[in-house]
């Protein structure tokens, strides 16, 4: 086995580690609302989310992977060192924000990493502006759509359940939340695992291990979903606490509305090939349902800190990747 192939295998392993860290860091958001509303215990909820993260490998397409692989930076400048630097930028930023307990976006950290490494490699012209604009616009669009859809749904539920005894309503929503949590985990699995798939596929393509046409091999799809599911199983409790309990107090019907709206938003984005932050989207949903009860019930200070972390994620991970590229180039 030649040295170049060993290096490619090493980077694929790092990409899967990123996916695992993504699960560890992000995927716990999938279970935050079911844990906060005590529909499932933390252990049960994590297994539930991980299962649907993995099931998402089947039949939901690879549109997001294609965007990551070909729509963010010019594939002509992509090589092993660029991908490794991008991954280092994303992983280091994820670990820093995980230590701070902030639910920032692993997706945007990866995109920032790709941008920073591409600029270090070939200058600003190697960044595909239309792709970055689309991702940038959806940084705002995905949480706001999550907010709007969850608000409408929460208001409709309030209206429908006006004369229903609270104990009956609780029973209904405890079951429905299992469905909405599963749908959210499916959306999370497909959108987030595809980002890793895109990175691995473009690495294999540019190093000549994928044939003449860009595509995502089935082993890449399965291993990316397995990595994110394992990450979900292993971690993220600090962030579960922030998302599910610190933004606002949640009842089962609130959890259902937030998750159903976020799931719909993420599955929509996945079908149109846009990498979105699942963290952003569920946050928008949680803020929406909290606001329908009492605007002041939302702890805006916590929400504000999260938004701040979102704003600095792409520049910060880009800067780390930019520096990592020059270190990698020295070897």
């Amino acid at each position: 086995m030649d040295g170049e192939l060993i290096f490619v295998i090493f980077i694929v392993a790092v990409a899967l580690l990123f996916d695992f860290v993504n699960g560890f860091h992000d995927a716990a958001n999938s279970v935050a609302t079911v844990v906060a509303t005590r529909v499932l215990s933390p252990g049960q909820a994590v297994i539930w989310a991980a299962f649907f993260n993995f099931v998402a490998a089947f039949g939901l397409g690879v549109h997001v992977a294609n965007t990551i692989g070909q729509g963010i930076v010019d594939a002509a400048v992509v090589d092993e060192k660029l991908i490794l630097s991008a991954l280092i930028g994303a992983i280091v930023w994820d670990i820093i924000t995980w230590r701070w307990g902030l639910p920032t976006s692993s997706s945007h950290a990866l995109i920032g990493g790709l941008i920073g490494a591409a600029i270090a490699s070939g200058g600003a012209d190697t960044v595909i502006r239309s792709g970055v604009q689309k991702v940038g616009a959806f940084i705002v669009i995905s949480p706001v759509v999550g907010f709007i859809a969850a608000t409408f749904l929460a208001l409709a539920i309030l209206h429908l359940y006006q004369r229903v005894p609270p104990s009956t309503a609780q029973g209904v929503f405890r079951r429905l939340q299992l469905v909405s949590a599963a749908a959210y985990s499916l959306g999370h699995g497909t959108n987030d695992a595809q980002k890793t798939m895109g990175v691995i596929a473009v690495l294999l393509f540019t190093t000549g291990h994928l044939g003449g046409e860009f595509h995502v091999p089935i082993w890449v799809i399965l291993s990316a979903h397995a990595a994110i599911a394992l990450g979900t199983v292993f971690g993220g409790w600090r962030i579960v606490r922030t998302m599910g309990m610190r933004i606002t107090k949640l009842e089962p019907q609130d959890g259902f509305a937030a998750e159903a709206a976020a799931a719909a938003a993420i599955l929509f984005a996945s079908q149109v090939g846009i990498p979105v932050s699942t963290t952003h989207t569920i946050s928008g949903g949680i803020v929406g349902v909290g606001s329908t009860k009492r605007f002041s019930a939302v702890r805006w200070g916590v929400a504000y800190n999260i938004v701040l972390a979102w704003i600095i994620t792409i520049p910060a991970s880009a800067a780390i990747a930019w520096a990592a590229f020059f270190v990698a180039k020295a070897f």
Partner: protein, 58 residues
């Protein structure tokens, strides 16, 4: 089992709200990313303002 009927009704209600919402998002997206961004932000701000008025009272 009134809970089952209520659960089905709630699921249908969710579909009746979410499906048209995302069809509208797709239509706006086809009109242009800028159109979608501005429309979503304006609607979000209006909704937040209305919720604030309703739940805080000023």
């Amino acid at each position: 089992m009134p809970g089952v009927g209520l659960g089905v009704l709630t699921a249908l209600l969710a579909a009746a709200i979410l499906v048209p919402t995302f069809l509208a998002v797709k239509v706006l997206m086809d009109l242009g990313l800028g159109v979608l961004l501005v429309s979503v932000v304006v609607l979000g701000l209006l909704l937040a303002y209305a919720l604030r008025r309703e739940t805080v009272g000023h």
